[in-house]
Symmetry: C2
Subunit: 276 residues, 2 copies
């Protein structure tokens, strides 16, 4: 089963487009967990346990772990090890380097951390990403159009009658020889999502920005998914993780996760209904 098929399979089985971002900031972990030896790991495990039936994927951003040194790296590994088998495990590391160096990153995230997918920055071109694409079961979500304001600086540049982000999408579509390429397209750009979906009809999309960043959930599902195959995972991090900072954080996180999952499912169903 290719990575792309696995994403679709996971979404269908879980009835969920939801990806939960475990960008767990040590300072935002509830106070009553701060006396644990690894408060972030205890927090992550509680969030995972409370939401495992609701999420199709979890995305773990390495920045929040690296800033804790080697202890953070152990915490990152233990968090991946705590994820259930029936979800897509995404390392949001935004790596990319020359070929012999990218091979080390591929080994790190696909073999050691045992992530199913990695986010990769495409700027350095094809040979820089080749080591990530060797195993059809391991996926790469390439940064295409990101959810932050700075996406305007380079990604929207006009390139041969189109934009840089559309050029990236078209190039990644060509790289998808093994069915394991995907794209990161921010929920903060719904109409651009539609354009990228036309260029790459069957690539899985990772769509950040529907929670705290204020992206439009319904439009993101409508324009980001494709009924002929293109799946989308919509990520929410802070809105779920920090739904409550008290002892009820687990219940609060589950409540927000379930509301988000349902809203995503409603949007998906409304898309598949015949329009008058």
């Amino acid at each position: 089963m290719t990575f792309s098929q696995r994403v679709q399979d996971c979404i269908e089985k879980k009835h969920s487009l939801l990806c939960i971002g475990l960008d767990s900031d040590p300072q935002k972990v509830p106070p009553h967990l701060q006396s644990e030896s690894d408060p972030v790991l205890v927090f992550n495990r509680a969030i995972i346990e409370a939401t495992a039936d609701l999420a199709a994927a979890y995305k773990i951003n390495t920045a929040f772990y690296e800033s804790r040194g080697s202890a953070g790296w152990d915490s990152l590994q233990a968090t991946f090890d705590s994820l259930p088998v029936d979800v897509i495990k995404i390392a949001d590391a935004k790596r990319g380097d020359i070929g012999n160096t990218s091979r080390h990153y591929a080994q790190t995230f696909f073999e050691q951390i045992n992530a199913d997918a990695l986010t990769v920055n495409p700027y350095m071109g094809r040979d820089s990403v080749a080591p990530f694409l060797e195993d059809p079961q391991k996926g790469v979500f390439f940064l295409c159009l990101t959810s932050n304001p700075g996406s305007r600086d380079f990604q929207y540049l006009s390139v041969g009658g189109t934009t840089l982000y559309e050029t990236v999408a078209a190039e990644v579509q060509k790289w998808n020889e093994k069915g394991n390429c995907g794209l990161v397209v921010g929920a903060t750009h719904p109409s651009e999502l539609q354009a990228v979906r036309r260029i790459a009809p069957d690539l899985p999309f990772l769509i950040p920005g529907i929670g705290a960043q204020g992206g439009d959930l319904e439009k993101s599902v409508f324009f980001g998914t494709d009924q002929k195959g293109g799946a989308a995972l919509l990520n929410s991090s802070r809105a779920i993780l920090y739904a409550s900072t008290g002892k009820d954080f687990v219940d609060a996180a589950r409540r927000v996760a379930e509301m988000t999952r349902q809203a995503l499912e409603r949007a998906r169903q409304s898309k598949s209904e015949p329009r008058s």
Copy 2:
């Protein structure tokens, strides 16, 4: 003293444009060190001790350490801690994320690892790099034109009558409000180096590719440096680290490092001589 001034100062004091890349692959560490508890760290310390008077900078690529898990992260930190005070310490991590996430990366590399500079991928735009540019003493080398074949895929795209890499250079020149921005321009593209130097006359350049990657050393110095201020650090990794795989690796590394430093100095002096 801004980061840019510090780079110039270091080059003048050491009479060296040489940056040594500690991309130490555990499998390539000489056999007689493999019984050490951390062979890479012992190897790095030996290389550093043998070359400290010859190098203006050391560049440590995180990929080679991350692939060893949390032990590798400790090894990365200990390698940085082993560097002398009179060199520029560069973390070659090619990071970059949305603002609140980049802040964690900045904290990791500038505060914990205590690097003087970090390589950053510019694709996500200004707000994604802002947290790296707050301290004038800490520098950022932005990927502009990389040394690998894949640089052709996006970096050479035609953008408004110029190229993407030149657009990146011009944008980074604007970001240089605190004197702490630099650019990565590969030695494998000497004539393009000249174009980038015109756009960014006073930014320090980090120029990889003069060793094993086969870039042109003399042209890189000629086109990459600017007598009015623009400094360049030319990186060699594998050619120095693996000059010998035997017990004489220290002497061999020093010999290649000194040859490279001298060749760089000759190129710099020939540039400063009046031409007939």
